[in-house]
Amino acid sequence: MTTPMLEIRNLHARIEDREILKGVNLIVPAGQVHAVMGRNGSGKSTLSYVLAGKEDYEVTEGEVLLDGESILELDPAERASKGLFLAFQYPIEIPGVATMTFLKAAINSQRKARGEGELSTPDFMRAVKDAGRDLHIDADMLKRALNVGFSGGEKKRAEILQMALLKPKMCVLDETDSGLDIDALKVVSEGVNALRGPGRAMLVITHYQRLLNHIVPDLVHVFSDGRVVESGGKELALELEAKGYAGFDEQPTSGAAA
């Protein structure tokens, strides 16, 4: 069996004294898109933060392997350079830092960490222009401070733009559909779909089934009370939409089938 792109083994994590992840098991093979669905407060967003390495959470047990390599000891920047990308549910506004400056710093930091040379300014400009075109991101938006004054749709498109430019191996999309109207949802989904490919895996975290009409997953995992309780094909998402999450609460399974 080939090495999965992401493997989460019995992951437990807490914030202060509250345990939020209670034994997550999940495998995402390269080239696949998996969805994680669950109600509010089930720990979905925590999972995304723990994967990205946010300091507020303490991992008490378990292991996370990215392309076969353990990442829990790495800081967020190192994880990013190894190819992990988190599209934030609420992208952070950073006054005073121009979007272009930020993009260039991010790309070149990652290249440097991987021992690659810096991207020249013309190459960088071209890459941004190309990636921005499909996402309807114009030069004007990129001149503004990072996410400051961006609409909900602009913020999510900017996240996908970053994903396109950074070319991660493993993308974690946290509630990328929240705050999007139907047109914006289409643009963002098309952007995500364009990035699907054999060398890349995605974990799409969502509350609603509607995103999965646009980004069709290979596998759906149901998340409840800090663990995966059910896994299945994309029809599982429809079942959830019809019946709600209640039916899944009392039947924890022993991890996910991959």
Binding site: A80, L86, I94, G96, A105
Partner: protein, 403 residues
């Protein structure tokens, strides 16, 4: 009833009294011998107790030649070197500028020690007259040279009605433990547009004092940027006064304070006439064991109706041992005005740091980006590109700890 207790006079005061006496400033010497250096009981020196902080005063500096390198090079700027108070006026002047050395200090009389010292001890003033739009930036390169010395110098900038100019004055010098006390007098004519920058890049052992007066006529626009990025002990007085209606002032500053330093910027802004607006914005960053202090007082006179003034201080702590102090004050005697003040201090935002690092930007670089972002609001409005870039460079050097 108050009982007069004579203050204890320390070695710094003894030296200053002697120097004032030698220059014939009997009244100033007498006064200093009675009241001593200002302590924190003097409201305007509340955070900067000079009796505690100024332990010694070097001998009065003599006229000498420039030895140090210019602390800042601004491509395209007209640089006027000024060494121990004497300007070198040889170079060809850009159109609209006339300069000369005139006797005495440029400052107006005021109850402030630094002002009194400069008025008594600055022998000459560099006087610049601006007519029309001076295309190039004027850089007055004020340096304290030679062995450790007590140096008082003075500049008078007169901008005629309708004039337009950007002037930067830098303070620097040799690596000695100088005591420099600079004066600047800026008269902004009707409808003139002036950007005036004071930048302290003095050496690590130096003490740097400065007092700047701004007199703003009707319809004029002034932007001031006061930057501390050098000297172990610094106090900069800014005295600004709106003297004609419809003028606007952006009084801004960056107080960058590092290990072992104490730097104080104190603004007194007087809205003496109606219908003027002002937006003082000062940002302070402190790291290591250091003290950054800002005092900002806006006085709105009884007649100064329709004044619109908003004072803001934002502080960024980069260490737990640093102190950022702030005292905004409003004294409003008019009844139809919009005035406000605010003051915030914090550390770098964890969410900002996480977002940047989640994109692969290492911690040190992410911090530097956020700090530059924090300061950008002050530097951004500086229109001249070369000057803007030079000041960005000062900030970057400071962040990297090389200045």
């Amino acid at each position: 009833m108050s009982i007069h207790t004579p203050v204890r006079i320390g070695p710094a005061e003894v030296k200053l009294i002697e120097q004032l006496g030698a220059r014939g400033a009997t009244a100033a010497a007498e006064r200093l011998s009675v009241v001593g250096l200002p302590t924190r009981k003097v409201e305007s020196y509340h955070y900067t107790d000079l009796k505690m902080l100024l332990r010694s005063v070097p001998e009065l500096a003599d006229a000498t030649k420039a030895i140090s390198e210019p602390a800042l090079r601004i491509p395209g700027a007209h640089r006027i070197p000024m060494t121990n108070g004497v300007a070198d006026l040889d170079g060809a002047e850009p159109q609209g500028l006339r300069s000369a050395m005139v006797p005495g200090s440029s400052l107006s009389e005021r109850d402030d020690l630094l002002v009194r010292l400069n008025m008594a001890l600055a022998a000459k003033t560099l006087k610049l007259e601006i007519n029309g739009d001076v295309g190039s930036v004027i850089h007055i390169d004020r340096r304290t040279e030679g062995d450790a010395g007590h140096m008082n110098d003075s500049v008078h900038l007169f901008v005629a009605d309708g004039g337009k100019v950007t002037v930067i004055e830098t303070f620097s010098g040799t690596d000695e433990a100088h005591l420099s006390n600079h004066a600047s007098y800026v008269a902004v004519g009707k409808d003139a547009e002036v950007t005036h920058i004071l930048l302290d890049l003095s050496a690590a052992q130096a003490t740097n004092f400065a007092s700047a007066e701004y007199h703003v006529a009707a319809g004029a626009k002034i932007r001031t940027v006061t930057i501390h990025a050098g000297s172990v002990l610094s106090r900069i007085n800014l005295f600004a006064r709106f003297e004609g209606e419809g003028a606007h002032g952006d009084f801004t500053g960056l107080n960058l304070v590092t290990e072992g330093q104490h730097s104080d910027i104190t603004l007194e802004l007087n809205h003496a006439v109606p219908r003027c607006s002002s937006k003082p914005l000062f940002k302070q960053i402190a790291r290591g064991r250091s003290v950054a202090a800002f005092q900002g007082k806006i006085i709105v006179a009884r007649d100064a109706q329709k004044t619109d003034a908003k004072l803001m201080m934002q502080g960024l702590m980069l260490s737990d041992e640093a102190q950022i102090l702030s005292k905004p004050e409003l004294e409003i005697f008019a009844d139809d005005v919009v005035c406000g003040h605010g003051s915030t201090v914090g550390a770098l935002d964890d969410d900002h740091m996480f977002y940047l690092s989640s994109r692969g930007i290492p911690q040190a670089e992410a911090e530097a980006m956020l700090v530059r972002g924090f300061l950008e609001e002050v530097l951004d409005p500086i229109a001249d590109e070369a000057l803007h870039e030079a000041l960005e460079g000062v900030v970057v050097q400071w962040l990297q700890g090389t200045k």
